[in-house]
Amino acid sequence: MKKIKFLLIILVSVLLQVTVLNIFSIFGVKPDIFIILCFICSVIFKQKTALGFSILIGFLKDTLTVSSFGIHTFLFPIICLSLRHIKKNVSLDNDFIAGFFLLIYILVCDVLVNFIIQSYGPHISIPVFFRVFLLEAIYSTVIFLSLYKHFKIIR
């Protein structure tokens, strides 16, 4: 039941991300619901389920964006595994600690994704990069902090 509920949340969130969330973008930057969901499923589910969900989330993100290969399908399971490893040593029950880790993950993820994007050709100027890079991380973390306590109830 918990898994079905989360699956529905993923599908609705994905559809919201590509439609409604554009209204709430700040300087053209919207929060990344995908990485938030990947983070949450890594915390609240067991390893196999979390991995399955993270692959699905990555797959959906890559399907809806334009990229020549599935960067996120590959990256999200790695995030999931590393987060589960961190969870063994650090308690992620505290919203702010979890938020801090999410912030770090978004920043690292953006650097990696951009490194791959830039290696394909398109050049993103430094000011644009920093605008998106910082705003996305902060905005997503704020959204995560407001959502995290509700997801902890599922657990």
């Binding site: 919201l16 439609t19 554009n22 053209g28 020549s68 599935g70 399971p77 100027s125």
Partner: protein, 257 residues
């Protein structure tokens, strides 16, 4: 510390390989998944429109009042223009001028946007069954929108002019100075490689040059917002405000021919 157990090597390698295959198969599976997501996307897009109407109610109310006043002024101007048009047609016939052929366009509705902040694309509700092909030019009533980047059966993806992958050879309408308009992932575009001595100014109109043959000549891209010198000091750049509000696109026109 993280210890890697030897018994996990084979399952780990297989999983890694499968993930690799899945990652590289995404461009092929993408059109089919988009077909499945098309109907929910249309519903959510409707929801988005309603929420937008609610969120921007106050702004829309005043804009409506302003536009109603403008509409009255424009109606009177339109009457004048109808007269000019008929006069122009008569004179053209007299001069035996060949009328420029219009583009054949197909209208499509925007049903979704790129989920990531690193690309600027939209999903539209028409695809190969409407004759769309990769590379087709997409416009709006006000100007250039972008190009078709992927085509499914009933959906397509449009790469907008403000995407960082986009480069449009363009000219300044007033003085025919050439440059390259590039996307900056935001609400404005950058026109690069303008000669240092070019007299480009704020509110100049920038149009497609048609040099590369990808975009037809004369499509309005936007107006100049500000002008500056490149870091090297060898050329100028201009910040362009797109003629089309790319964040509020609801319908687009795809040039078929």
């Amino acid at each position: 510390m993280f210890k890697f157990n030897k018994k996990f090597i084979i399952p780990f390698t297989i999983s890694f390989f499968l993930l690799f295959v899945l990652s590289f198969s995404i461009p092929r599976t993408r059109p089919f998944v988009l077909e499945i997501l098309k109907s929910p996307l249309i519903i959510f897009n409707f929801l988005k429109r309603e929420i937008t109407a609610l969120v921007f109610f106050h702004q829309n109310y005043y804009e409506n009042e302003k536009l109603s006043k403008q509409s009255d002024v424009l109606k009177s101007k339109l009457n004048e223009l109808v007269e000019f048009k008929s006069e122009n047609e008569r004179l053209n016939k007299l001069l035996s001028l060949k009328q420029n052929s219009l583009y054949k366009v197909t209208a499509a509705r925007v049903i979704g946007r790129d989920p990531s902040n690193w690309a600027s694309t939209v999903i539209i509700d028409k695809g190969s069954n409407s004759g769309f092909k990769k590379g087709m030019v997409v416009i709006h009533y006000y100007g250039l929108v972008g190009r078709v980047s992927e085509v499914g059966i009933t959906t397509s993806k449009i790469m907008l002019v403000n995407d960082s992958n986009m480069g449009v050879s363009s000219i300044v309408q007033k003085n025919r100075q050439e440059g390259l308009v590039c996307g900056s992932l935001g609400g404005s575009l950058i026109m690069k490689y303008l000669p240092k001595e070019s007299d480009i100014a704020v509110s100049d109109v920038v149009i497609t040059s048609g040099i590369t043959g990808i975009f037809p000549k004369g499509l309005v891209i936007g107006t100049v917002n500000s002008v500056g010198y490149e870091f090297s000091g060898l050329s100028k750049y201009a910040v362009i405000k797109p003629a089309v509000d790319l964040n509020a696109l609801e319908e687009v026109l795809v040039i078929n021919q």
